[in-house]
């Protein structure tokens, strides 16, 4: 949503002119802008990521094929992880990025395999706990953005499995909103965390939390046939997620829309909150819609197209998954989706007229 293409060099010049950069920072900024100019686009990074995954699978196959004794996988896994961390902290070229990413993923898989293979019946709990701990440690010590995002995803996935294994299903509807709340908190404190020297952790943590929250909310669309799952409830009481995400939606709306609300008439704030409450009520059976709105709103307010785009993509994915889920009848889905859509369109019409004074909503199209 940025208006014009401002260069990073202009930003640095502005900060220097206002005395916000000292001499050392100014010279460091010059080197940094050159480095940032070289950042690979997403499709090159996607290709690199695919290569890392495939290579790691082959590495796993190689090690598994050596026919080691019990405990051997754990040792080799740990060695691969340690080697990858050590090498990645020293070097930063494309090949090393590839090799260390693949080695670390392969090492983690072998470690997990070794633990699962050697433990007693309760080894799944142990396995999940180890994944959470290892991912937590690697998040801090492995200096790679993609790896850090994966660490958050691995930890969140292991946590979900652990909750099911220890039969704490009731916590699952809280987990997605909790991850989303952590994302919002992180987003709001970006500047403070960066100033405290944790800036390199913020973006991967945000991406990982967002993707993990998406995954958790998609679980709400999964339905197990009673014949298969007996009394197992996969996602009990989705309305708990709706209530929690609804509260978060109102909170995010309060600070993202504040710059617009404070300059509009007195009636606009209550009307905006009433509209948000109407959307929450309509989306009662489909909490993923609220998560999509939260992420999109955060992205739009910060000018982060990737975030806004991820929110929109998740909206489409969630609606599709919700449509094909069998937990509720088609009539209930129809009422939920159509009423939420009507509430969103009503919100658009009222906001454009009340908040922004457009005579005709259609006039604003570019």
């Amino acid at each position: 949503m940025s208006r014009a293409a401002v260069s990073l060099e202009a930003v640095v010049a502005g900060l220097s002119a206002e005395g916000l950069l000292d001499e050392a920072q100014a010279s460091e900024a010059e080197a940094m802008t050159g480095k940032l100019r070289d950042v690979q686009p997403w499709y090159v990074r996607a290709m690199v990521g695919f290569g890392a995954w495939l290579a790691s699978l082959w590495l796993i196959g190689f090690v598994a094929g050596l026919g080691m004794l019990v405990g051997g996988f754990i040792v080799v896994g740990l060695a691969l992880i340690a080697g990858a961390v050590a090498l990645r902290r020293q070097l930063d070229n494309d090949f090393i990025v590839q090799a260390t990413l693949a080695s670390s993923i392969a090492g983690q898989a072998l470690l997990a395999w070794g633990i699962a293979d050697s433990g007693p019946d309760e080894s799944v709990e142990l396995l999940c706990s180890v994944i959470i701990v290892v991912s937590g440690v690697l998040f801090f010590i492995f200096p790679d953005r993609i790896h850090r995002v994966l660490s958050v995803l691995f930890a969140a996935s292991a946590l979900v499995v652990l909750l099911y294994v220890i039969e704490a299903n009731a916590v699952v509807p809280v987990l997605g909103p909790a991850l989303a709340a952590a994302l919002v908190l992180l987003h709001r404190n970006r500047a403070a965390l960066t100033a405290a020297g944790h800036g390199h952790l913020v973006r991967p943590l945000e991406s990982g939390l967002m993707l993990s929250a998406f995954g958790c909310l998609l679980l709400s669309t999964v339905y197990l046939l009673p014949a298969l799952g007996s009394e197992f409830v996969f996602y009990p009481r989705p309305w708990i997620s709706t209530v929690l995400l609804g509260a978060l939606f109102l909170y995010v709306g309060s600070f993202t829309l504040q710059p617009v609300l404070e300059r509009a008439g007195r009636a606009t704030a209550p009307v905006t909150y009433a509209l948000m409450l109407a959307v929450i009520a309509c989306a009662w059976a489909a909490p993923g819609i609220l998560l999509a709105l939260i992420v999109t709103l955060l992205g739009a307010a910060a000018g982060q197209r990737a975030f806004a785009g991820a929110g929109i993509a998740f909206l489409a994915v969630f609606v599709t998954a919700y449509f094909y889920g069998m937990e509720t009848t088609m009539l209930t889905k129809s009422i939920t989706l159509a009423s939420t859509g009507a509430a969103v369109l009503l919100a658009r019409w009222l906001l454009l007229h009340l908040l922004l004074g457009a005579r005709h909503a259609g006039d604003t199209h570019v």
Binding site: E28, Q98, A191, G199
Partner: protein, 349 residues
Amino acid sequence: MPEPATPATPASVHELATALALDEAAYARAVELAQLRPDRNDWRRWLDRFLAAAGALLIIAGITAFFAWNWADLHRMAKFALVEAGIVAAVLLAWRLKIDSTAGRAALFAAAFLVGVLLAVFGQVYQTGADPYGLFLAWAVLVLPWALVGRQAGLWLLFIVLLNLALILYWTQVLHPPDGWWQLTQLMGPLVWLGSLVLDSRLAGWLFALNAGALVVWELAAGLGVAWFQGRTGPRLLALAALYTVLAPTLILIFAASAGENAEITVLSPLLFAAALAACLGYYQYGKRDLFMLTAGVFGAILVVTAFTVRHLFMNVGSLLALAVLLMAQIGAAAWWLRHVARRWQALA
């Protein structure tokens, strides 16, 4: 020669703030200077577009769910009336909002899509017995006038997708119906059935010609300055379709032992792939600069080299290690070369 400017994006500003350990005030000021926060007009534009799109998506999904709930009980005339009313409403909306506006374009695209739904309902109600390729061909013919007057890339992409589907279905249902156990692919769903096209080099060759031809026309139109052909999404999708329809049978050919005696895979596919790759790397490096196209081409080449190595090297456990190292080396070299090309372009800019 001066260095080209680095765009100030949320990501680059954050990286800068991290590297310089900016305090909170300086970070906030950097965000302001970069004009990353939306102003009133940005908000109006965003609210207008996003809420309209999200609301429309949810309502359409809700209406679809409603019809799925009681579709079988509806009278056939009611079914036709509903779909036709949707087409008329979408066209009227496109006319009212102007076909160059975002909403107008979306409405016209929706109308073009609903034409296909109408044809499908017609086939379902009257059980005409016609081959399904006719549906897609008729749909493409009916959509063509709207594509001509619609001035939007989306309608042209829909038109080309429909031609692809019509060609695949005509080939697999009329000209060369699969026999033997290949018929089973029809029972495994439309995606598996469509996927079986990779087992016929002739069909893949025609599909390549269709998509590559469309890509050439698209790039020529873009070069002539036609406004609605300036975006890069359309040509990139066409290039992927052209390149990968011949890449897939090439990979199958490398592992030909498992393709079966009925597969019609010939050396035509690797030849077309090699020609397409050379054209892609040449034109998009020295003609129209597009790093995405180069990445797609290089990635295809890596897949071919890797498949060839797997076919001839895979003999024992040790070869898995060699394959992993080879793949990492290829990807690393490709990433290095793409970075080198991007730097060269920057220096020339």
